[in-house]
């Protein structure tokens, strides 16, 4: 059969072509490394195993997206190679039928494509056998899963896309249009999903995603670990719909192209402009003298002119090529996407500050530029050889450097063009966003210079490699291997910048602190690699092959040219620079600082545990009072601390030895413990043991005096300090003061890492029942509430703030001093922030409010002050009086993005609320929410502290969320809360499956953020709704009375649960248990709703509802339970999800008890409702919260349609 024979020939041809081998190799390697490396985890992590069906599906579908770049090389090539090789004339005159030809070629190349992409499942299969893979993270190998995923999910997607590309190739006869089709698909994919980003579009995007990434995401959104580990994606629901849509589109394209294809239209003659000036031409021709051959002039000027000519030629060659336009189009698109993606949470974007714009360019273009380098280095270096013009060009008397440098410049030009375009777009985005303080110098420095340099160096490397190898594909493969090595070398403990080509140091950017000192160490590393690149360039020049490609052995002879001064001099200078900067970097990273890799740090933690864990349960005295002087030198990178603290033996035993542990980067010039002498000092860990002359009897107090010095020097290879910086220092007491006794936080925590080192797992948190922990708080176990006084100084231009009231402020020399004193007991948890601040002041009922901020960050300061006032007003009444007379919000650089509540001070990162853009008032007010949350911590943490047991963070974080919800609801109304809680519920449900040790009920939360923040907010709001706000608040007031400022014992979560049960009455006991003591999932659904007008003009509404409740265990195994709580039933004039929905639109909303899984409810109302809902405000934890509402239909119509 003809078609079969054509297909077989095509397949044989394709299997021998480089694209098959290269694609196979790349996809094999990518997935192999993804599987075998501990650091790359696609879809896996926690309880989800790396080769689970879910993780495999995710891995292979991502590869799908990459594979789209290979598709034209197969599908378009299958058709167009005849035209390219001028074989079409012969071929199309043979008696092959159109069907045989088109489909034969299609199937042949498609099978080759499928074989090439099978590198992905093979790589992911073999990757699991790599010896380094932790067997605990592996499921038993199931070949069926690989087959099923590859052939049911990947191959069909590829088939659909390949058909479209093939159809485009058939219609256009152009490989470029095929690539444009690829670009178009990608752009549609990315832009579409960028625009349809909200949760409400999830279903649409899942249906339309050709790569099925979103489909997978949506289908498995709330899957638990158990489901992810065992379940293969089925061909139903949205997956089936998605497949049908894409096969339909593909079939349409194929039909269209089949219809349009004809053998006869194949050859096109290039159009030539008619030469109108032919006559004038021939006249001119007669006058031309023919004997002149020219006189060559050999000077540097000539070489320079040649250089300019070649550079212009190379640059224009790139500029005029269609691939370049595609690359630029692609980059423009990626950059725009990145520039608009400034999400700071809850659907809110940040203002387009220049820092974010630069980060977006960097993040968006990084990979694209590397691809450009790999592709264009091959293209540019091999240009003459590919066009077979090399013998003529190479025999020309232009020096090698002219060719090498002009080609490199062309490559650099491509890179810089893309970056400049990125900057122009960034400025356009800023203009469009009404942001008008353009920091052009920052753009040039960080966006252009700093960003382009490593890529230019990589371009040098790529050119060098291409000159060295015999074949451009080999060169490209070497660069791909290099690219992969940059990703994985770190994981194998190779971290030193001296051997990681072109990699600088981390240079985080901050509005407050600019590039800080980070840029300086980085500058040395860059200088080092620049010197190396110059040498590479020299070698590229020397090994440059003219004419016949010579074996390297021959070309090495050219190195004798190094004897010439003109080469020897730059080589020597570069070598000296390389050695000099290399030595300086080594001196900084390995002499001034110690070179400690991540692996080393693990080993240190293991050694620490083995050496000192024996002392874990020794009785230790506790800090009860702190008097501390701190001198901060932000420019000299020094912090001097002098402190006198009082320790008290709060145990009931005599204490004979005291262990004192300082951070290991501190110098400790003085350490004295009253009535004790130092028995040992372990310099590796700064671990001191003191023997007491006479033991401390219970209740005895002793004075501890110490001085510590932080003196940073030079720079480190990684982890350069972000706490002590020029403008925006933020250190806390754990950086400068000791821990009394064995510090458990110094041990490795991650289960898998511990297993690797032969250590038993550590419990995340002690069990709720462990009464011996009730006297320890969860923040630090070596102290309780303390008295606090501090004198702190900084440079004259800055203000330094710590908890406490300002007692005194003075200037001495060029330094400013502040004395702060606390009037109420505080936890042993305080911080110092020093920066050049602007201050906005306000006042609320005698409480002083101050926001210390970076001068330009004025956007949301008033919102924060508003949140402080509202919080004070509300919490003072609802909980208890505020314990301080002051609230201060302090901005710090975005090296860290959080806000944190210290006593009467709230450090707040510039990266979140300060630059959030809330121009659209319908959006969630993030700065308001965060401020209210941190304000609530003044009660929930700083008044009532919880014990170091399970559920500890529920009393702190969940109650802070509750506080924030109270003030937000008051300010913005129920509708905003509904929006906010939808995010919270979604984040809770999405995170369940990824928990490394499994989910726990709220009251046993083990510092799991998705539980104590996300689920906590949902539960507390529902609780308030079910039992009443006054009941909850009364319970909280009782908790405060019971446990505020108490350390023996601290509060535990069951204290609150018990109080709640008492206050809410026995009818709510089950509800409270469901909310707090169990992992409870509800599923309610408005199945059908009809309305009928009655004779008296009122309306009878009939609702079919379904309800279910399940309890889940750690891994998500579910058991059914009776749905025994009342649930909101509501009738509305407008959908509660619609814009502009308000209280007037509620016809009826009340809680009803539903009996039976399916029931029908009849309600009579005065007005005709349009929407009906069960739990319409999504108060319950419901995995499918979109089916709670339904439009109400006329009863007659329903009957009619039934007939």
């Amino acid at each position: 059969m003809m078609m079969l024979r054509i297909a077989r020939n095509e397949l044989r041809y394709m299997l021998k072509s480089p694209q098959t081998i290269v694609s196979f190799a790349i996809f094999f390697l990518l997935t192999f490394f993804a599987m075998s490396s501990d650091n790359v985890r696609i879809g896996a992590g926690g309880n989800v195993l790396v080769n689970s069906p879910f993780a495999l599906t995710q891995t292979l579908l991502i590869i799908n997206v990459f594979a789209i770049f290979s598709i034209p090389a197969f599908m378009a090539n299958a058709l167009l190679k005849d035209v390219d090789h001028k074989f079409d004339g012969i071929l199309f005159s043979t008696p092959i039928s159109k069907t045989d030809y088109l489909f034969g070629r299609f199937f042949g190349s498609f099978i080759a494509l499928v074989l090439a992409l099978s590198g992905a499942p093979l790589g992911s299969l073999l990757g699991t056998f790599w010896p380094g893979v932790d067997p605990e993270t592996l499921a038993p190998t199931n070949l069926g899963h690989y087959f099923a995923i590859y052939f049911t999910l990947v191959v069909p997607s590829i088939l659909a896309i390949a058909s479209i590309i093939y159809a485009v190739a058939v219609m256009s006869r152009s490989i470029m249009y095929s690539y444009l089709a690829v670009m178009g698909l990608l752009i549609l994919y990315l832009v579409g999903f960028r625009l349809l980003n909200g949760p409400e579009y999830r279903e649409v995007t899942a249906l339309l995603d050709p790569f099925m990434m979103r489909t997978l995401g949506e289908y498995t959104r709330y899957w638990t670990a158990i489901e992810r580990n065992t379940t293969l994606l089925g061909y139903d629901g949205i997956i089936l719909m998605n497949r049908l849509i894409w096969f339909g589109i593909a079939a349409g394209f194929v039909a269209l192209s089949y219809g349009l294809f004809s053998f006869r239209t194949a050859a096109k003659m290039p159009k030539e402009k008619k030469n109108k000036t032919a006559i004038a031409d021939s006249a001119h021709k007669e006058t031309i003298p023919t004997g002149i051959r020219g006189t060559a002039i050999w000077s540097f000027g000539t070489a320079y002119q040649q250089f300019l000519l070649r550079t212009r030629f190379e640059v224009m060659s790139v500029l005029k090529s269609l691939p370049f336009l595609i690359v630029v189009g692609f980059s423009v698109f990626i950059t725009f996407t990145a520039l608009f993606n400034r999400n700071v949470g809850y659907g809110l974007d940040a203002y387009p500050v220049t820092r974010l714009m630069i980060q977006a360019i960097e993040g968006g273009l990084g990979l694209a530029l590397i691809v450009v380098i790999i592709f264009y280095s091959a293209d540019i270096i091999w240009r003459e050889r590919t066009t077979k013009f090399s013998e003529i060009i190479d025999a020309m008397p232009a020096p090698n450097w002219v060719f090498v440098v002009s080609k490199l410049i062309a490559l650099a030009f491509v890179l810089v063009t893309i970056l400049v375009l990125g900057i122009v777009m960034a400025i356009a985005v800023q203009l469009a966003g009404g942001y008008d303080s353009f920091e052009i110098s920052l753009y040039l420095q960080r966006g252009l210079m700093h960003l382009s340099m490593p890529f230019v160096m990589m371009a040098v490397l790529a050119c060098f490699v291409q000159v060295l190898v015999k074949n451009r594909f080999i060169g490209m493969m070497i660069m791909v291997v290099y690219l992969i090595s940059t990703i994985i070398l770190n994981q194998f403990g190779f971290e030193h910048p001296l051997y990681l080509f072109a990699e600088g140091l981390d240079t985080p950017l901050s509005d407050m602190n600019g590039s800080g000192r980070f840029i300086e160490g980085d500058g040395w590393v860059r200088a080092y690699w620049a010197a190396f690149s110059v040498l590479l360039l020299l070698f590229t020049y020397l090994l440059w092959s003219r004419g016949t490609l010579q074996p390297l052995k021959f070309r090495l002879r050219n190195l004798r040219e190094l004897k010439q001064l003109s080469l020897a001099l730059p080589a020597a200078v570069a070598l000296i620079a390389l050695v000099g900067t290399g030595w300086y970097i080594f001196y900084n990273t390995n002499v001034l600082n110690s070179y400690v890799t991540a692996d080393d740090r693990e080993l240190q933690s293991v050694a620490y545990e083995q050496k000192y864990r024996q002392y874990e349960n020794l009785p230790m005295p506790r800090t009860i009072s702190v008097n501390i002087d701190v001198d901060i030198y932000p420019y000299k990178r020094r912090v001097e601390t002098r402190s006198t603290q009082v320790l008290e033996n709060k145990t009931d035993q005599a204490i004979a030895t005291v262990h004192i542990l300082f951070p290991d980067n501190l110098d400790i010039p003085l350490l004295e413990l009253e009535g004790a002498k130092q028995a040992s000092h372990d310099k590796d860990y700064n671990y001191y043991i003191f023997d007491l002359d006479t033991p401390m009897v219970p209740g005895e107090k002793r004075t501890l005096k110490f001085e510590t010095i932080i003196q940073q020097q030079g720079f480190q290879h990684a982890g350069n300090d972000v706490t002590l910086v020029r403008n925006g220092t933020f250190i806390n007491n754990s950086d400068i003061t000791p821990y009394i006794g064995f510090f458990p936080g110094g041990m490795l925590a991650d289960r898998n890492t511990r297993r690797k080192h032969g250590l038993d797992p550590l419990p995340r948190t002690p069990k709720l029942e462990e009464a011996n922990q009730y006297g320890n708080n969860y923040i630090r176990q070596d102290s309780d509430f303390i008295t606090f006084e501090t004198t702190v100084s900084t440079v004259a231009g800055q203000t330094v703030i710590s908890p406490g009231y300002l007692e005194k402020e003075w200037i001495e020399g060029d330094r400013r001093y502040f004395t702060y004193k606390m009037d109420a007991p505080i936890l042993n948890f305080y911080s110092y922030l020093s920066a050049e601040y602007e201050v906005v002041q306000d006042e609320f009922e005698g409480i002083n409010i101050e926001v210390f901020h970076h001068a330009p960050h004025t956007y949301n300061v008033e919102r924060m002050i508003g949140a402080v006032k509202d919080s004070l007003a509300y919490f003072n009444k609802a909980f208890s009086p505020y314990q301080h007379k002051q609230v201060r919000i302090l901005e710090f650089p975005s090296y860290r993005t959080f806000a944190q509540a210290f006593p009467n001070t709230i450090p707040y990162s510039e990266g979140i609320g300060f630059i959030a853009d809330i121009t659209d008032e319908s959006k969630i007010d993030l700065p308001y929410y965060v401020t209210a949350h941190e304000m609530a911590h003044q009660w929930w943490a700083h008044q009532v502290m919880s014990a170091n047991t399970q559920g500890g963070t529920m009393l702190v974080e969940t109650l802070a969320q509750y506080g924030a919800l109270l003030v937000m609801e008051q300010k913005y109304g129920k509708d905003q809360i509904r929006k906010f809680l939808k995010y919270e519920l979604d984040r809770y449900l999405s995170a369940r499956g990824g928990d490394p040790e499994g989910e726990l009920p709220l009251y046993r939360v083990e510092n799991q953020q998705y539980i104590h923040y996300r689920k906590g907010a949902v539960i507390m709001y529902a609780l308030k709704d079910y039992v009443g706000e006054d009941v909850v608040n009364r319970s909280l007031q009782r908790l405060i009375k019971l446990r505020a400022y108490k350390s023996a014992p601290y509060a535990i979560s069951s204290d609150l649960v018990e109080i709640l049960k008492e206050e809410a009455g026995p009818e709510n006991t089950g509800l409270i248990e469901d909310f707090f003591e169990k992992i409870t999932l509800f599923d309610v659904k408005m199945k059908d709703s009809t309305v009928e007008e009655m004779a008296d003009g009122r309306f009878k509404v009939s609702l079919d509802v379904e309800v279910a409740k399940v309890y889940a265990d750690k891994e998500g195994r579910e058991t059914k339970a009776d749905f025994d709580i009342p649930v909101d039933i509501g009738l509305f004039l407008k959908s509660p999800a619609a814009d502009g929905y308000g209280a007037d639109d509620v016809l009826m909303l009340e809680k009803r008890r539903i009996t039976g899984a399916k029931s029908t409810i009849e309600i009579i109302v005065d007005k005709k409702p349009t929407f009906a809902g069960i739990d319409p405000y999504n108060k319950l934890v419901d995995r499918n919260s979109n089916d709670n509402l339904a439009a109400v239909e006329e009863a007659e119509k329903v009957l009619a349609s039934n007939e």
């Binding site: 290039p270 002149i292 020219g294 050999w298 000539t302 002119q305 066009t387 013009f389 013998e391 008397p397």
Partner: protein
């Protein structure tokens, strides 16, 4: 002028492309004859600084071609056997481009050079056309034009007349002979008449070795009186090849004319004939083939 000494080139796979070549090439046209795969292009490329030999030396005047390629390129005009062109750019643009690379920095002068050459190679009318759309012959003429830029003292043309129609070939021959007297022109070809028409000196290369060199007249004189011809039936050819030193045969109206090289009249119907350059060529390569068991190497060189 151009002196090649002990030039040997061995490819990494062990194939010997050039074996101990010694040549002294004076000013004027020099013909290098040889069958396909004889190593002609290897030798040309080596002289044109595009390939480093394993051993040996090449001097052009006082310049060492192998160690000072940059110097030699300044006086070099090279037309490779097979070349392509950049996909963009007209004949004029590209010739101008190459003129800059040849060191013609004065733009006025360059214009004259480029236009003059375009006229001489009969490309003037199509100078604004994209070079990539040129036919093989037009492209070859472009190749010739570029090789002549800048008064080269050493011109190497590798199979220059391939693809040219008779008229263009004549035009090319005229062009070459005009300049051929003051400079060294090495013409590599397998077309004997090219050499016959143009070259005062020549050499024959086969199997990587120079098997014969001298003036065409001397070489013909050497075999004068040894060439015998006969017209036979096709089926007699094998027997004749076995029986006589057949150097060439060609079809002539359904029969075969064979020529043999022999000391005396072989009899059997052979008759004496005047030796021409073709006989010189075929005699030389025939002898070489018989001597060398290197036939395999020959074909490999062509790669």
């Amino acid at each position: 002028m151009l002196s090649i000494k002990n030039l040997t080139h061995t490819y990494p796979n062990g194939v010997q492309a050039l074996k101990n070549i010694n040549l002294d090439i004076p000013k004027g046209m020099f013909g290098l004859l040889g069958p396909n795969g004889a190593g002609k292009s290897s030798l040309m490329r080596t002289i044109a600084t595009l390939q480093q030999p394993s051993e040996g030396s090449i001097m052009f005047g006082d310049t060492n071609v192998l160690t000072e390629p940059d110097v030699i390129r300044r006086t070099l005009g090279y037309l490779p056997q097979d070349f392509g062109v950049y996909p963009r750019g007209s004949a004029y643009d590209l010739l101008d481009h190459l003129a800059v690379l040849k060191g013609i920095t004065n733009s006025k002068e360059r214009k004259q050079v480029v236009e003059g050459l375009l006229v001489q190679t009969n490309l003037f009318e199509v100078r604004k056309k994209k070079l990539a759309t040129f036919s093989g012959g037009m492209r070859q003429r472009f190749g010739i034009a570029q090789a002549l830029i800048g008064n080269p003292q050493l011109i190497i043309v590798d199979e220059p007349t391939a693809g040219l129609d008779p008229e263009e070939r004549n035009r090319f021959h005229n062009l070459l002979s005009e300049i051929g007297e003051d400079v060294v022109v090495i013409l590599s070809t397998h077309i004997v008449s090219d050499v016959e028409d143009l070259c005062p000196n020549m050499a024959i290369l086969a199997g990587g070795e120079i098997i014969s060199q001298g003036t065409p007249a001397d070489l013909m004189a050497e075999i004068e009186g040894r060439i015998w011809k006969k017209v036979i039936e096709k089926d007699q050819l094998e027997a004749h090849k076995a029986g006589y030193n057949v150097i060439s045969n060609h079809l002539t109206i359904g029969r075969v004319a064979v020529r043999v090289n022999a000391e005396g009249n072989p009899g059997d119907g052979f008759e004496a004939t005047a030796a021409d350059l073709e006989d010189v060529y075929f005699s030389a390569i025939n002898t070489s083939r018989k001597n060398g068991a290197d036939a395999s190497a020959d074909t490999a060189v062509a790669a």
